[in-house]
């Protein structure tokens, strides 16, 4: 099958640079699957997992938070504020973050920024899910 180049770049450096057959990501408007020869486009992504099918049965999962996807004729770039490969995720830290966010949400104090706590929870949950292979 035809492959194309995928780059996942974050402010802390490139995370992924590889050739794949298919990229599947969660855009804000819904699930997206991209294969070689896709029309150029740009779409913002949700906090979620990006699956890279490397060919055959191998695939890789990357946890993404806050970013967007750019498709060009010869390559796909994902610009994210944070991205981690499944095997690199620090589960203990993610769990801690999840608990902290949950506690904040339950506290129901006025000065807590709910939206931010919710986002933090989403990010932590996403990372845990990705590291456990759940999509």
């Amino acid at each position: 099958m035809k492959t194309f180049n995928v780059n996942i770049v974050t402010p802390d450096g490139p995370v992924v640079d590889t050739n794949v057959e298919l990229v599947s990501a969660k855009a804000q408007s819904g699930e997206l699957g991209i294969m070689a020869g896709h029309v150029p486009m740009v779409a913002p992504l949700q906090i979620g997992a990006v699956r890279l099918v490397l060919g055959g049965n191998t695939s890789e999962v990357v946890a993404i938070s806050g970013g967007f996807l750019e498709v060009r004729p010869d390559q796909v770039t994902i610009l994210a504020q944070a991205a981690e490969k499944a095997e690199n995720i620090d589960v203990a830290r993610a769990k801690e973050a999840q608990m902290r966010a949950e506690r904040r949400l339950q506290d129901k104090q006025d000065h807590i920024d709910f939206k931010r706590a919710e986002l933090a929870l989403k990010r932590a949950t996403n990372r845990i899910n990705v590291s456990q292979g759940k999509l």
Partner: protein
Amino acid sequence: MASLRDIQTRITSTKKTSQITKAMQMVSASKLNRAETNAKSFVPYMEKIQEVVASIALGSKDVTHPMLVSRPVKKTGYLVITSDRGLAGAYNSSILRYVYKKIQERHKSKDEYVVIAVGRVGRDFFRMRGIEAIESITGLPDQPSFADVKEIVRKTVDLFSEGTYDELYMYYNHFVNAIQQDVTEKKVLPLTDIESSGGRLSSYEFEPSAEEILEVLLPQYAESLIYGALLDGKASEHAARMTAMQNATDNAKELISSLTLQYNRARQAAITQEITEIVGGAAALE
């Protein structure tokens, strides 16, 4: 003339100081290395986002976004990037002097501007002049990751969107090389001067729409501009500190050698005097 012991004490203490400055210089040198690596790994992200922003914002003329439009300026925001600690030569003072001069030139009253301070030195500088920074961050790590600065960066961009200020300037030391750092002024918001690098790009399809993409993209772009400046500033800080400590060590060495000379002279004078006394005493006995 100082006594032998006085000179000896001064030599010892200067030696100790030079050991400390030498150590600080080496620490800064290794931190500079890391900071440069960080700044380098940020480059691909910055280039990419710039490319996309340019092709969307310039590519489709009918798209507008509050961040792209200059509005009448009632209040100006100044983001000043300094360090937490001193001992970095002219790193902080040159930037603060520059900003302060600019502010004095541009504004007559304190209602016309606000200051956001990064670093303790900058915050205290403005506080001493009766300007309380509306937002400040101190204790930034030496190698800040994006997660470390996300809060301040987002806040800064949000304050513009909320209308707290209508334009935002950022001041930092641009890292040229280990011995040169330039004070740089950069207008961050509104994003009026987006450079298009690499010419016209393919026209994109937008999912769901260009406006909604700009909604996500532009804040992220502005945030990365600021983050880039922070990294640049950190590299400059380490470089400035390294140079300053290098100078301090050199000066200490010079001082030690001149003190040693003085010490030897004094020692010799004392010996000569002793001999003269003995000879004088012997002569008196004859």
